[in-house]
Structure formats: C-alpha cells, structure tokens
C-alpha cells in the first residue's frame, strides 16, 4: 500500500502549487478576519486565543511531530515563561519584549536540563517523566509563594497601552502580534523539517539504530528540537500572560488545560505536519469557548468529552489527523 509522503510538494509540482495557493488563502483570511469582527468583541478574543493555542500546539509539534518526543509536560515551559516575564516586569520594570527573550532563554535552559536525564527514556517513560516535570513546576508555582505569589497568582501591572509595554488598547493589535508569533513558529517548524535536522529526525523515528549506524547523532538531534520547542513554548506563555493580565499556577501549569490541550490540538489537526496545529486550533478552541459560554460549568464538560472521544477516534482510525482526512476529501491521493 502506498504511503502518503510527508511532503507531497516534493513529489508533485501541481500539488505544490495547490499547497502554496492554500497557504496564501489562509494567510489572506487570517489578515482579513480581525477587520470583520468588532474590535473589543468576544469573537475577536476567541480568534486571538485560536492563534495563541495554535502557536503552542505548533511548538509541541516541533518536538513530538518531528522527532517523536511525546511530552505531557509542556505546561512547565509555558508557565515558566509567563512567570519569568511577569516577575521581571513587576520587580524591575523590564519590558515584556525583553521578558520574551528571557523566557526564550529560560525555557530553552529548562528543556536542556530536562533532556539530560530523560532523552534516553523510551516513549512511555519519557511521557511520564515530562508529565512529572509539568506537575513539579505547578507545585513549585503554588508553594514558592515568596517568588511566584503562590496559588493566588500574579497580575500583570496595568499600564498605559504601549507597544514597548506590550499592552494594547485594541484587541486587533494582540491578534496581529499573535499571528506573527504563529507564522514565525510555523517557519521554524518548516525550516527544521525541510533541512538536514528534519531528515535526521525522520530517520531516527523510523529506525534509531539504522540512523545511528549511518552517522546520525540521535541524542543531539532530539536535544536540539527539545530545546527549541521548550523555548518557543515559554514565549507563548509570555504572550498569554500579557493577554490575560492575570494567571495562577493551576491554570498556567495545567496538565489538562495546557499540556494535554496542546497535544490534543496538534494530534487531532494532524501531528507532524505544519498545518495540523492550525486546523486543530481553529476547530477546537472556538467550540470550547462556545460551549463554555452556552452551558454551565458542568455541562461545559460536554465539549471536553467530545474532544476526548475525537482524540481516541483519531488515534485509532486516522493517525495523521483531520489534515489527512481533508487531503483525501480534497482529491489528493
């Protein structure tokens, strides 16, 4: 049975053009949408969240989709970024733009540290270790009150809207900022996937021993994507903090709300492909928000239930995610 190449563009010029047109259209839609929605409206807010979580899922996708490093603890980097940036702002008045750089470095360092003991663990064990990492961060966030403010959480100091302070009066500004972040993350993903590192990763996913025998430094390859993934996730945490103005450890280090959600979005959309997290986010976030709004807290569990079932269905019947389904429907073999 012929397996679909991961990069259809490589083998079919017409398909490549269709791909580019598709992306062009998506970009166009993304640029127009904020102007069609009322500026301070709830729907624009949801759109911002879609972009934010798409970026988060893409960051997760870089590690999991490209090299099979299944992390259940990305919330650890996410929350770390939020705290680092916000604390720098609160205590030293440092602009969140620099906060993002600090978060990038800190997230990368955390990922590097975490990689040392965990990279040689097999799939399930690795997932378990990352889960523990995320939860450790959450517990630290809750108990190290002197630094993190404890379970009460942190508020981002409200200031005059300014670019330098990364606070905007208009939701549209946030939207475009997040869009740029998403585009950059997607470009990072594609750059890795299309380059030498991407080839090495695919090789080691297929058969690690054969890859090693052919000269692939498997540890170094995995380490690299782990660090990149962690660093970007931390930056997304900063954006989240600046957007929400308030966060607490249980939210920002949440296993279900951040770690699993990132993975869920990427997997349902289509893991390992750059479009996957986008499709997943566009589908999942609005539905979640809608059901939160329409139903009571208990009944809102319905959307979660559906997504859980969808995750199971995807994993069993359509491992390449909805993206593969769309491709099939779109007539591409």
């Amino acid at each position: 049975m012929s397996r679909e190449p991961l990069d259809p563009g490589a083998s079919d010029a017409a398909a490549a053009r269709r791909c580019r047109i598709g992306w062009g259209l998506a970009l166009l839609v993304a640029l127009i949408v904020p102007w069609l929605l009322p500026d301070q409206g709830y729907s624009l807010r949801v759109a911002c969240l879609v972009l934010l979580f798409a970026t988060l899922a893409q960051a997760w996708n870089i590690a999991a989709g490209l090299s099979g490093l299944i992390s259940l603890g990305h919330a650890g980097f996410f929350g770390a970024g939020a705290y680092v940036s916000t604390l720098l702002l609160i205590h030293y008045g440092i602009s969140p733009w620099f906060g993002m750089i600090a978060a990038l470095v800190f997230g990368g360092l955390l990922a590097a540290l975490l990689s040392l003991p965990t990279l040689r663990l097999r799939g399930h064990y690795f997932a378990l270790a990352t889960l523990a990492f995320g939860e450790v961060m959450r517990v630290i966030g809750n108990s190290w009150s002197d630094v993190t403010g404890g379970p009460v959480g942190l508020s981002v100091p409200f200031a005059q809207p300014s670019f330098g302070g990364l606070q905007f009066a208009s939701l549209r500004s946030y939207y475009f900022l997040f869009l740029i972040a998403l585009i950059i993350t997607c470009l990072v993903f594609e750059r890795i996937r299309g380059g030498a590192l991407g080839l090495r990763l695919r090789a080691l996913k297929n058969h690690p021993d054969a890859a090693a025998s052919l000269g692939v430094d498997t540890t170094r390859a995995k380490f690299t994507v782990a660090v990149i993934s962690g660093a970007i996730t931390a930056v997304v945490g900063v954006l989240y903090a600046q957007f929400m103005f308030f966060f607490d450890p249980d939210t920002v280090f949440s296993l279900a709300g951040i770690s699993v959600r990132a993975a869920l979005i990427a997997i349902i959309g289509g893991m390992g492909a750059v479009a996957g997290p986008l499709i997943g986010a566009v589908l999942i976030i609005p539905i979640e928000e809608l059901s939160n709004m329409l139903f009571s807290a208990t009944a809102a569990g319905l959307s979660q239930l559906v997504f859980g079932a969808l995750l199971i269905a995807v994993v069993i019947w359509q491992p390449r995610g909805l993206l593969a389904l769309f491709r099939r429907l779109g007539g591409r073999k």
Binding site: R3, R202, H207, S213, D217
Partner: protein
C-alpha cells in the same frame, strides 16, 4: 600490509549468556571476509560491537589505528565503519533519495549530501527510483538501497548483516557483483550471510563462529573441510548443513 581492522579478545555477555567469547581476528584492507556460524552463534552481536550499537565488556577494536572501543555508533560511522541492516530497516516513509541523503549527512551539509546520495543511488543501480517511497520498493531494490545509504557515508569498511536474506539466487549474484566492484574501488567488507553458496563464493576468507567463539578461520575451501566446522553445523538442522 597492516590490518585495517584488528579485533582482540572481544567479550560480551548478556546476563548468563556469553555471546562473544574472547574473539580475535584481523581484516586486511580490500578483503571480503565472511562470518558464518549456526543460528545464535553471536555473529550479529559481533557486528553490533564493531559498529558501536553494543558496548563490549572487554577487548579491543582498532580500525586503521583508531580505537573504536566505547565510541558511539554515529562517531564510528564517521571514522569509516558502517553497518547495513536487513530490509525492514529502510526508512519506509522517506524516499530513496531521502534515505541515501541521511547517509550523506554523516560527513557533509545537506546540499552536498544530496549530491553524494544521487551518486550512491546511481552506483548501486537504483537511478531513476529516487522519488519512490522506500516502503514501496521491491526486495532486491531494498537491498540495493541499504548499500546506497551506507555508500553515501563514504565508508572505508562495510559490515553487511544478512543483506541478501530475502533475495533469489540471481538477485544475490547481482549484489555479489556489486560488492566486488565496490571492493575494487577501495571498500573493505565483512559479511554475514546464511546462504552458504553465496558467502563461500563471494568471500576470500571465512571466519567461523560457534557459541560466541571463533572456531575456524581460512579460505572457503579450508573451512568447509574443517571437521570442527562441519560438526558445529551438524549440531543444527540438517537443512542448513545441506546448504553448504
């Protein structure tokens, strides 16, 4: 002429099982040496120690003056020793070109790796199949892909681990021809193969392994007459001995 590969006192045990028991041998540059022995004799274990996938418990492995002991597999590849795997190890969801490019990346950057991949693919006779998914190749094509991948790493020595296990005799002859040509171009070969006729025909020297120990070494003719070798094989199925 000094040996390209010098193995001395190689030892490996797994729990209670001694897989490699004080094995020593040399391989001279440009040789095609065969490694035979009944199932479970420990041939693949030796290969895995030579190419760095398994760490030996004791002994030395010296390749062209460089000690390989304790080196990781990817570094050993860069030193010039590469092992091929059986058909199931091809990177199935990658194209032929991508498979070979991975090998090229062992030494050079992406662009040049692709060039070397193209050359290696052509050398093994797979030209024109670059864009085919490895999983879609026929069995003899997969065997050639294994060689192409390894060739792209610009090896000095290739360890062929049952490279021809699933091939017809005609297909095997073609691979043997290819191996001889590559040897003439400067690559040394160490080969594990179960098809007796093939390995006896292709190798100038044979090492015989049984229960982890080297029990005989010599030309194919010498080795097939050696009573120790015959009894080692008669200890296994009559079928296999009949292959010889």
């Amino acid at each position: 002429m000094s040996a390209l590969l010098e193995v001395r006192g190689l030892r490996k045990r797994f729990g209670g099982l001694i897989a490699t028991d004080d094995v020593s041998f040399d391989v001279a540059p440009g040789e095609i040496v065969g490694l035979i022995g009944p199932n479970g004799a420990g041939k693949t274990t030796i290969f895995n120690q030579l190419c760095g996938l398994i760490r030996p418990d004791a002994g030395s492995i010296v390749f062209d003056g460089t000690s390989l002991a304790g080196m990781s597999a990817h570094r050993i590849c860069r030193v010039g020793v590469v092992k091929t795997f059986q058909n199931v190890a091809s990177f199935g969801d990658m194209t032929v070109l991508e498979n070979a490019t991975v090998g090229g990346l062992a030494r050079v950057g992406l662009a040049e790796a692709r060039e070397r991949a193209h050359a290696a693919i052509a050398r093994v006779g797979l030209a024109g199949r670059e864009e085919v998914m490895a999983a879609d190749l026929s069995l003899p094509e997969k065997a050639r892909l294994e060689l192409a991948r390894a060739l792209a790493t610009q090896p000095r020595m290739m360890l062929l681990d049952e490279a021809m296990a699933t091939l017809t005799p005609q297909e095997q002859r073609e691979i043997v021809g290819l191996v001889r040509e590559l040897r003439d171009e400067g690559i040394t070969f160490l080969v594990i193969e179960h098809h007796m006729k093939t390995i006896m025909a292709m190798c100038e020297r044979i090492l015989v392994l049984n229960f982890g120990q080297l029990i005989a070494s010599g030309t194919p003719a010498e080795v097939s007459r050696d009573p120790k070798v015959v009894s080692a094989y008669l200890g296994t199925s009559v079928q296999e001995a009949g292959d010889a």
